[in-house]
């Protein structure tokens, strides 16, 4: 394997378009990009950096044994969450899978509540009940954080369905992985959203692997790529170089317009890459892909680097400013760690809270009788 170049690696043979380097400014003139203020551009940069620093801090804490369960890092994919979310309006919603830290920070969740959630603390965004895979911020129109592969795909359709039902001009973006496209429920969802003109956008974050299985080992797909499965349902699709925030924004924006104006769904395939393993437990991720491959992406297609380059060329950023943003993000993450460390765990009584609305809000429903069946509580 070590003699393979990224170009000859089986993985890339199946997705060559992902390898071409995108033209930095190809989409700069797209209305959605042309209209961006400097502040907005810098915010995108800052958000991507913040995601990365947050996760680097989380990784450290994980390695110190501060958390349990899984930790799926988004590092390498930042432009997808930040770029797509950055074009959304106030009536648009998102939902994603378990690799959700990037989306959470992109919609504006705070590092504190996110870090505390990883620590299983009561101050976490889900009170320590959800963990890494289950971030939620309904008030920011972010509906999670879902652990069952593709389980969120009909839910995304439902969010958009509700908008249409209520006559609200808006859309929902539902993210899923390249491995997730092979769950039946995703296909059922595609048929439903096309049949019923539901304004949903499915974003396939194609990072080339589902755990240790490369895209070509898990999916049969047409030449045009995974997203082209959309044609089975008369749904428009597009493919996107995920390292280029301009391109992500331009193509997402087009899909959003389609949703707003025609109430039609779109499938977008965004080529991207994760630098770490599937989760931290995936220690041997250099067995199913080469170091060269990883390095290739880091060196040529890192979304933060690419955007930095663009903003430097545009004169909005310089080395000092980058360092400043970096350090601020690092400091913010460090504070979040401290916040998480110092926060309390949920008391055991919390085990039985948030199970039922009717229990947590007595008197609001016609409910009687026993709802929990513990012979004896252990606390």
């Amino acid at each position: 394997m070590s003699t393979e170049t990224p170009e000859t690696h089986e993985f890339n043979k199946g997705r060559s378009r992902a390898l071409e380097k995108s033209d930095l400014f190809a989409h700069a003139e797209d209305p959605v990009n042309k209209g961006m203020t400097v502040q907005e551009k810098l915010k995108c940069f800052t958000d991507m950096v913040r995601i990365r620093k947050f996760e680097q801090a989380a990784l450290q804490s994980y390695q110190k044994g501060k958390m349990g369960g899984f930790l799926h890092l988004y590092i390498g994919q930042e432009a997808t969450a930040v770029g797509t979310v950055s074009v959304l309006g106030e009536n648009d919603h998102i939902i994603t899978a378990y690799r959700d830290h990037g989306h959470a920070l992109a919609v504006g969740m705070g590092m504190n509540e996110c870090m505390a959630e990883l620590y299983g603390k009561f101050t976490g965004c889900s009170k320590g009940k959800g963990g890494s895979m289950h971030y939620f911020a309904p008030e920011k129109r972010f509906w999670g954080g879902h652990g069952i592969v593709a389980g969120q795909t009909p839910l995304g359709a439902g969010l958009a369905y509700a908008l249409k039902y209520k006559g609200i001009k808006g859309c929902a973006i539902c993210y899923l992985g390249d491995g997730a496209i092979n769950q039946g429920v995703f296909h059922e969802s595609l048929n439903l959203v096309s049949l019923w003109d539901i304004p949903v956008i499915y974003v396939i974050e194609n990072n080339g692997y589902s755990m240790g299985t490369s895209q070509v080992r898990s999916s049969a797909f047409p030449e045009e790529g995974l997203a082209a499965r959309a044609t089975s349902y008369n749904i428009d699709f597009d493919t996107v170089h995920g390292e280029n925030l301009y391109e992500v924004r331009a193509k997402t924006s087009k899909a959003v317009q389609r949703a707003y104006e025609q109430s039609r769904p779109t499938v977008l395939e965004i080529f991207t890459y994760r630098y770490y393993g599937h989760s931290i437990a995936d220690a041997n991720h250099q067995r199913y892909r080469t170091k060269e491959e990883i390095r290739h992406y880091q060196e040529n297609k890192d979304p933060i680097n690419v955007w930095e380059q663009i903003l430097i060329e545009e004169g909005h950023l310089n080395v000092d400013k980058v360092k400043e943003i970096d350090q601020a993000a690092k400091a913010e993450a460090k504070e979040a760690v401290q916040f998480a460390e110092e926060s309390p765990f949920p008391p055991p009584q919390q085990l039985l809270a948030d199970v039922y609305h009717s229990v947590d809000n007595p008197g609001t429903h016609t409910n009687e009788g026993e709802i929990f069946f513990n012979d004896r509580l252990p606390y």
Binding site: K129, G151, V185, N191, T366, N367, G369, D375
Partner: protein, 329 residues
């Protein structure tokens, strides 16, 4: 009070709730233009139109999941399963997603979803179509399950289920749809989830049942009274989760004997749980072990006369009570 069918009672419940709350809609296979495979929604599409009665493709996981997502934004979907057995193709959506979301979000998200449809055997549709999964659903904390036996209960429970902010499974029976009974005409007629109904008072033995088995129990009780002067108390659970433990225990403490009747397959059926509760909390009141009647423990058979034997009936209840009370034939 009007005398209407169980089917009509369900339909009235749907119509009233659709009228009352613009967020309520019904989705499922053949529920709209076809008027429902079992005609529970007959006439509703004509009355309320495409938005409130939605015909769905054969994609249970897809449209239940869609209902879940829609419920996050305040809609109140009522999803019809043509047969409840079909929920198995959507099991992850129906039980895993629905039950976990409120918890995993620390209470930020609600899932006010109703999944309803017939869950019964006895109609010769074979093994794959005859499941009664109330025990499996009730096993999952976060979910609620009701199983109405009469037209009034069907209406009152379905209305409460639709107004509930938690996911509620309403399990009906094709064999009950045609049954008639008195139903209050009040739009606000609600039966609380978790409240059992003592359908017949008695002092000699408590028969606990739900769904169609309640009727078998009542019939057996009449016969036992007539032929053996035995007074059975018949407790209709109505709701499996929440469960009216108090009513169960009160009755058993009075009669000192309990017989559980259900159409569930026995292993880890609802009766098992109730049996455990009774022996655990009324141990000293029991004059004899708790007995159970369930469906014969095999996949549902097609052969019509044999399926009759497989599913509990009044005769079996009658005989079991005689066994328990040591009454000779």
């Amino acid at each position: 009070m009007a005398v209407i069918t169980y089917r009509q009672a369900l339909k009235d419940a749907l119509a009233e709730e659709i009228t009352r709350d613009e967020n309520v809609f019904v989705m499922g296979e053949e529920v709209a233009q076809y008027n429902g495979a079992y005609k529970v929604t007959e006439g509703l599409w004509k009355k309320f139109g495409d938005k409130r009665l939605v015909d769905a493709p054969i994609s249970e996981a897809g449209f239940i999941g869609l209902g879940i997502g829609a419920s996050f934004l305040g809609l109140r979907p009522v999803i019809e399963m043509m047969f409840f057995s079909f929920v198995y193709v959507a099991w992850d959506q129906a039980v895993n997603n629905t039950s976990s979301i409120r918890y995993m979000s620390g209470g930020l998200i609600n899932c006010p979803l109703v999944i309803r449809g017939p869950a019964n055997g006895g109609t010769n549709v074979g093994a794959t179509h005859s499941h009664t999964p109330e025990n499996m659903v009730a096993n999952v904390p976060g979910l609620k399950v009701v199983v109405p036996a009469t037209p009034a209960d069907a209406k009152g429970l379905l209305k409460s289920a639709i107004r509930d902010n938690d996911p509620v499974f309403v399990m009906e029976s094709t064999l009950l749809y045609g049954n008639e009974g008195e139903v209050p005409e009040d739009d606000e007629f609600l039966i609380p989830l978790g409240k059992a109904d003592v359908k017949r008072e008695g002092s000699d033995i408590t028969i606990i049942a739900h769904g169609g088995c309640v009727l078998a129990a009542l019939k057996a009780a009449e016969k036992l009274k007539k032929e053996h002067n035995v007074d059975c108390e018949v407790v209709d659970l109505r709701s499996i989760r929440p469960l009216d433990k108090a009513t169960i225990l009160k009755s058993v403490k009075k009669t000192n004997r309990a017989l559980l009747v259900e159409e569930n397959k026995p292993f880890c059926g609802v009766g098992a749980q109730i049996s455990h509760i009774i022996q655990r909390e009324a141990f000293d009141y029991l004059d004899a072990p708790v007995h159970r009647i369930s469906a014969v423990d095999a996949p549902a058979i097609y052969s019509p006369p044999v399926e009759k034997v497989q599913v509990p009936n009044a005769e079996q209840v009658f005989n079991e009570v005689r066994h328990m009370l040591q009454i000779k034939a």
